[in-house]
């Protein structure tokens, strides 16, 4: 565990913790919630006896049985749509998209049915859609995407993107308990590379609260998911007094924390692995310039993937996805402005 992650994992002193990977933390949250509340079910492709493509639900079938760990046919609209119906009738389904990219095949049910039902008819739809996202392993254009911006244009959906193991657990528990559809982006690159102390037993992290994971005075990196780790590594490597804000939730977005760090340092870099145009970076930059323009000492910068599909071949993929050197360069430029 790095010093930065130690700092990032602020836990109540009395709670007992256990070190686990980001992936294990997601499993732990699911298991805890399924034990706590019998209405929680898992629904997705290959999640039953097989344990899921990434083994997040490994052992669940044995513990909870076929009625609560339900293997779905290869049909994403069926998964989201049937989960919506089941949620209306009192279950708390956690849907797994095998890869976040495949939400495109279930998008209609998500944005037209689940997202709008409460606004239109007062019918709550408490579903969680798990979205293994992100690139870096030659997954190519259909197994590497970060589709969060799609959801942010669909009012009625909440969106979270944890960067740390403890948050992965806490945000999952909160997402399951939330009465709305929640898109839960779990970055595949963090699954086994990120470890941390995670509270045992019940642990929730409120939706809509960002967290300062590194204090600093000279510049702010506002990031989420994998980019939080790039920012922490770059700040350590440069030895600069940089603050890092982990958004954790993208909807609701913690505007207060965004403006607080912008006003504190006066220099803001927004970083994400998703493509650039109309992404979270654009929204954060607009919020900062609309509300803290007079506190800024530099234009708000963005470090993102360019607007291209994620290519397959390693040198092409690395040239597209933000790398540590890109983060360091962006920070150096911002600090020098």
């Amino acid at each position: 565990m790095t010093a930065t992650e130690m700092r990032a994992t602020s836990l109540p002193e009395e709670s007992s913790t256990r070190e686990m990977t980001y992936l294990e933390a997601i499993s732990d949250a699911l298991r805890e919630e399924m034990r706590r509340d019998e209405t929680v079910i898992c629904f997705g492709q290959d999640i039953g006896a097989f344990g899921g493509a990434f083994k997040v639900t490994d052992g669940f079938f044995e513990e909870f049985g076929a009625e609560r760990v339900i293997d779905a046919p290869l049909a994403e609209n069926a998964i989201i749509g049937a989960a919506t119906g089941a949620a209306i009738e009192g279950l708390r389904p956690v849907c797994e998209m095998q890869f976040a990219d495949f939400i495109s095949c279930g998008f209609d049910q998500l944005v037209n049915v689940a997202a709008k039902l409460h606004y239109r008819q007062g019918v709550a739809v408490p579903i969680v859609v798990r979205l293994p996202s992100g690139g870096g392993f030659s997954g190519g254009p259909f197994h590497s995407q970060n589709p969060e911006a799609w959801f942010l244009q669909a009012p009625g959906l909440k969106v979270v993107a944890p960067a740390f193991a403890a948050d992965a657990k806490g945000l999952m528990a909160s997402a399951i308990r939330d009465p709305n559809p929640v898109c839960y982006l779990e970055h595949k690159g963090l699954y086994r590379n990120i470890r941390g102390e995670v509270p045992e037993g019940e642990h929730t992290v409120p939706l809509g609260e960002a967290r300062v994971v590194r204090e600093g005075e000279e510049a702010s990196v506002i990031a989420y998911g994998s980019s939080v780790h790039l920012a922490l590594e770059a700040a350590e490597a440069l030895g600069e007094d940089v603050e890092v804000l982990d958004l954790r939730s993208l909807c609701p977005l913690d505007t207060d924390s965004i403006l607080a760090t912008a006003r504190k340092t006066g220099k803001v870099l927004v970083a994400h692995e998703a493509t650039r145009s109309c992404g979270v970076g654009a929204e954060v930059a607009a919020i900062v310039t609309e509300n803290a323009f007079e506190n800024l000492d530099a234009p708000v910068r963005r470090l993102t993937a360019p607007d291209v599909p994620i290519p397959f071949s390693p040198p092409l993929e690395q040239s597209v996805l933000p790398q540590l050197d890109d983060m360091k360069e962006a920070l150096r430029e911002l600090l020098a402005y």
Binding site: T84, L91, Q121, A124, P155, K158, P179
Partner: protein, 403 residues
């Protein structure tokens, strides 16, 4: 194991459903028609199985038959009034109705128990009325008024009264088939003897989500009843440009029965629906019921139906479901002409009062336009009315006076 408050809240509905099953079990000897279903019968007559072949028989008493006519007549009267309001400029957007299809939504919904659930579509106003929506709330919804079922948040037939166990449709078809399938999945997971029912047109059967719903329902053997309304046209597209094989024939390939009935015969629709509902409730899985009918108005009020061959329209005009049933009540079922006239007059009077009430309803306060995007908590849907005499007793009155 601790339970969430939501789970505790739904416990009451579950108990009521168990009561329903016990009551149903008491009727099974005389009412079960499960064996009557035909599977994927491609050789059905032009208008499907005739009323004589699938008479409601002992399942329906005199009060039930009066109800069936009343609900159909109320649907017709309410939609005619809605069309008038549209032509008067009081309905924003367009206007959609189910003229000629009244027997389907009324006959199918009439088979449901209170704790059953529905996703109702845009040609199925009668189902809303059977479950307890009053015509004034329907007309107010069309006019975008505060007193509409959605309070102005959504228009025309895009509504469902959550308090009556109904989830309203979206424009994308047949999305609600999957939602109903999911409701049935919850019933199955909790071992509740409850049924979900939904409708879709034959046009929807070309869409991939229709397959996803049929397949999942078949794989999981879910308690869901699919009512396919073949009204001959998907907007302007006729059957022969929609599919090469009648969609009802696909049912058995998903592992459950498909039946075709005369969609203009309310008792035939009811009979097939109640058999499918009984079958689902008993744990035997889904049924697809194709109701053959004709959409006697345009897709919307803006559509002049120029694509419909005149002789086809004329043929179906001779088979109006309300006229057919009125005649049959008098000729075969012991009603006098004055009884039928009285029921139809009652429907007209109800709609007159409803229209006046809807017109008095204010437009919504613009302040609410941004309210309610997110839920603060989950709440169980309420139960619908179930006026069928099988269910009357402590659950419901007969439903007539409240239409």
């Amino acid at each position: 194991m601790k339970r969430s408050d939501d789970a505790v809240a739904s416990e009451g509905a579950r108990e009521r459903a168990r009561d329903d099953l016990r009551r149903l079990a008491g009727h099974n000897g005389e009412h079960s028609r499960r064996g009557d279903h035909t599977v994927g019968n491609g050789a059905t007559a032009e208008h499907g199985t005739t009323a004589e072949q699938t008479s409601g028989g002992d399942l329906l008493d005199r009060e039930d038959r009066a109800n069936l006519l009343l609900y159909m007549a109320t649907m017709r009267a309410a939609e005619e009034r809605g069309l008038t309001l549209y032509r008067q400029g009081k309905v924003p957007g367009s206007f959609y109705d189910g003229c000629g299809q009244e027997a389907i939504s009324v006959g199918a919904a009439y088979a449901l128990a209170p704790t059953d659930r529905m996703c109702i579509l845009h040609r199925d106003l009668g189902a809303h009325f059977v479950r307890g929506v009053t015509p004034d709330r329907y007309l107010a919804n069309y006019m975008g008024r505060a007193g509409g079922v959605t309070g102005g948040k959504d228009g025309n037939m895009h509504f469902g009264d959550r308090g009556l166990g109904c989830v309203g449709m979206v424009s994308m078809l047949p999305d609600m088939a999957l939602v109903a399938t999911g409701m049935a999945m919850a019933f199955k997971v909790r071992h509740e003897p409850r049924v979900a029912m939904t409708f879709f047109g034959e046009g929807s059967t070309a869409n991939g989500q229709w397959h996803e719903a049929m397949n999942l329902a078949g794989v999981q053997r879910l308690p869901v009843v699919f009512i396919l309304e073949n009204n001959q046209f998907a907007y302007s597209t006729p059957n022969d440009l929609e599919f090469a094989v009648d969609p009802v024939e696909r049912a058995h390939t998903y592992g459950f029965p498909g039946v075709t009935v005369d969609g203009n015969d309310v008792e035939a629709v009811f009979e097939s629906a109640q058999a499918a509902v009984d079958r689902a409730r008993a744990g035997d899985g889904p049924t697809l019921i194709e109701c053959r009918t004709m959409r006697m108005h345009g897709h919307g009020a803006h559509d002049d139906m120029s694509y419909v061959p005149p002789e086809m329209f004329e043929e179906w005009s001779q088979r109006d479901p309300i006229d057919l049933y009125s005649s049959r009540l008098v000729s075969d079922l012991g009603f006098g002409p004055e009884d039928v006239d009285r029921i139809r007059a009652e429907a007209a009077a109800t709609v007159d009062e409803a229209a006046a009430k809807a017109l008095e309803s204010p437009m919504p306060d613009p302040e609410i336009a941004t309210d309610g995007v997110f839920a603060e908590r989950w709440e169980a849907l309420g139960d619908g009315k179930a006026p069928w005499s099988r269910w009357t007793g402590e659950h419901n009155g007969n439903g007539r006076t409240e239409t």
